[in-house]
């Protein structure tokens, strides 16, 4: 007993050597920068010289900053285009491809659709931005086409007009996100016993009621995972905004990440930018903790 326990502690000591590179990396790249950022958020600093401590002043200013609150409000709207709509579309598509198309047209057709819908998801967001920017700009594909078919009065400045810019960016985000939801849901569906569907069909349940009574309840774990991961992603959304609208026009598409970037590198109000980042980080960690708790619960159930 005594020998074996001594042995195992020896063993784990030599195993812990393998944690050294990862831990040093983590401390340098994540931990120190996080703490530094937290520290900076209590200072006023232009990026040169010594940061001047100002206590909670940056956070006070956040409370009355319209740009900040506007960006938080836009985050709520982007949750709709990043989480709500893609999850709904993804659920219907996944159930359709799994429970109908596969039976009617075969596995191959179903996989083909899945792959096609997934393609925007692995495209670099900046490329998606160039692509859609080119389609949506005032002399872009949409407006040229509308004019060509005589619908001139429907042509709008989609990304330059504050009324439409938010909707235009949301459309691009939905386009990107549907594939992620679809693929995760279809993977989840593959563990559902097909005889459940057959039994339901025997009872005369149509496709829609099978979706509501079987598919959605059984996919609960996947739905939870997708909702939380996309919520976290929505809080951090940056590249599509940077590429398509740069937060404009008139701050109509401003998000916290872009505001932070802008203050860090353009206005050089480093302390203030750090404070915005801290607020955003706190929200993300809260969601991430829920996510990790849920996953460990799932694991202990299995």
């Amino acid at each position: 007993m005594a020998i074996s326990s001594q042995r195992s502690s020896d063993g784990s000591r030599s195993y812990s050597l393998y944690l050294i590179p990862g831990t040093i990396g983590f401390i340098l790249i994540v931990l120190i920068p996080q703490l530094a950022n937290l520290g900076l958020s209590f200072t006023a600093w232009k990026g040169v010289g010594t940061p001047r401590p100002v206590g909670l002043q940056n956070y006070h200013r956040l409370l009355t900053d319209d740009q900040f609150w506007g960006s938080m409000y836009h985050t709520l709207l982007f949750i709709v285009s990043m989480t709500v709509i893609p999850v709904c579309i993804g659920l219907v598509l996944a159930a359709l491809l799994f429970d109908y198309v596969r039976d009617q047209f075969g596995e191959w057709v179903s996989s083909f659709f899945r792959a096609g819908f997934y393609l925007p998801q692995i495209l670099p967001v900046t490329v998606a931005g160039v692509l859609w920017g080119w389609i949506l700009n005032p002399v872009g594909v949409i407006n040229i086409t509308l004019k060509a078919i005589g619908l001139d009065n429907l042509a709008q400045n989609w990304i330059g007009d504050a009324t439409y810019a938010l909707a235009a960016v949301s459309l691009v985000i939905v386009w990107i996100q549907v594939g992620y939801c679809l693929v995760v849901f279809m993977a989840g569906l593959s563990r559902i016993d097909p005889s459940l569907y057959e039994a339901a069909e025997l009872d005369g349940a149509n496709w829609w009621s099978r979706l509501v009574t079987i598919t959605i309840p059984l996919l609960a774990p996947e739905i939870f995972v997708v909702v939380l991961t996309t919520l976290i992603a929505a809080l951090k959304v940056f590249a599509p905004i940077f590429v398509i609208t740069a937060g404009g026009p008139d701050n109509a598409t401003l998000v916290p990440s872009y505001l932070t970037y802008y203050h860090f590198f353009t206005t050089q109000r480093v302390g203030y930018a750090a404070a915005i980042a801290v607020v955003q980080t706190t929200l993300t960690i809260a969601l991430a903790v829920i996510f990790l708790r849920f996953q460990s619960q799932q694991e202990s159930k299995e």
């Binding site: 784990s12 920068p33 990026g47 659709f113 792959a115 900046t126 490329v127 809080l235 860090f264 955003q280």
Partner: protein, 295 residues
Amino acid sequence: MAYSVLSDGTTKAKATVAADRARRDPMRWVVLAILILLLAFTLFPFFLALLNAVKASAEYAVGGPLSIPRSIDLTAIEKFWTVSDFSRKLLNSVVISLAVSVLGVLISLFNAYAIGVGKVPGSRVILVVFLLGIMVPQESIIYPLYYMAKASGLYDTQLSVIIIFAVLQSAFGTYLLSTVLSTFPKEILEAAEMDGSTHWKTLWFVIVPVLRPTLMVLGTFFFIWTWNEFLIPLVMLVSNNNQTVSVAMGLTRGQNMSDPVLQASAAFLGIIPTVIFFLIFQRTLTRGIAAGAVK
């Protein structure tokens, strides 16, 4: 599906249902048409970029974006390639992504070996801290990293980006691999130890060969994620010579790009590498992503 047992009544009924399902539903063409429309909407931007990238500017001016090009004209693609020094950007992206995927997999493997096999005390806590570390927004570390890179002379070097992403992505890798390694058969490890194998040898000659497919999937993920990264390379790699494809794309909007055919060419060139990865890794990717998200 239900062919195996046909002896009792319920399975027979089930088999009939299965046959019914297999019997073609007249509605199926409507459903297929709707799905094709949706897919067409999804893929239309890709198609448009291809259509216009190979069009002569003069033809675009006359026929607009939807006309089918009468001949393949690669002038605009060549022009964007030269103007943006695209070969350089491609090379940068490949070097950075490849280095990150090798280094990231290595760090993940070491971490996971200590956590999953070595059961180092506190491994649960270590995992959670690593994971939380990468879930937070990158802007909250970008300024200190930028400052540190400047102070250490690593600013505007590809090495800075490689180190940062290798560490950030190894958190997910550690999580995935330690789950896999915690179920690694004890007998094999014990047998290796009996033969006098050291931890180091066991890792390389016993574990790595078995884990090779998983390590490849992980490496592929790291490669594509790094390829697509934007904020950190945007801040760290200011000089044109060091930029990645993703950053170059993100900056085209600000440049003078009034020629729509040139824009289509830019988008087209940005899409090509992704489509190539996609064709190569389609199965691995779609499966692996599901595994990564849920497991």
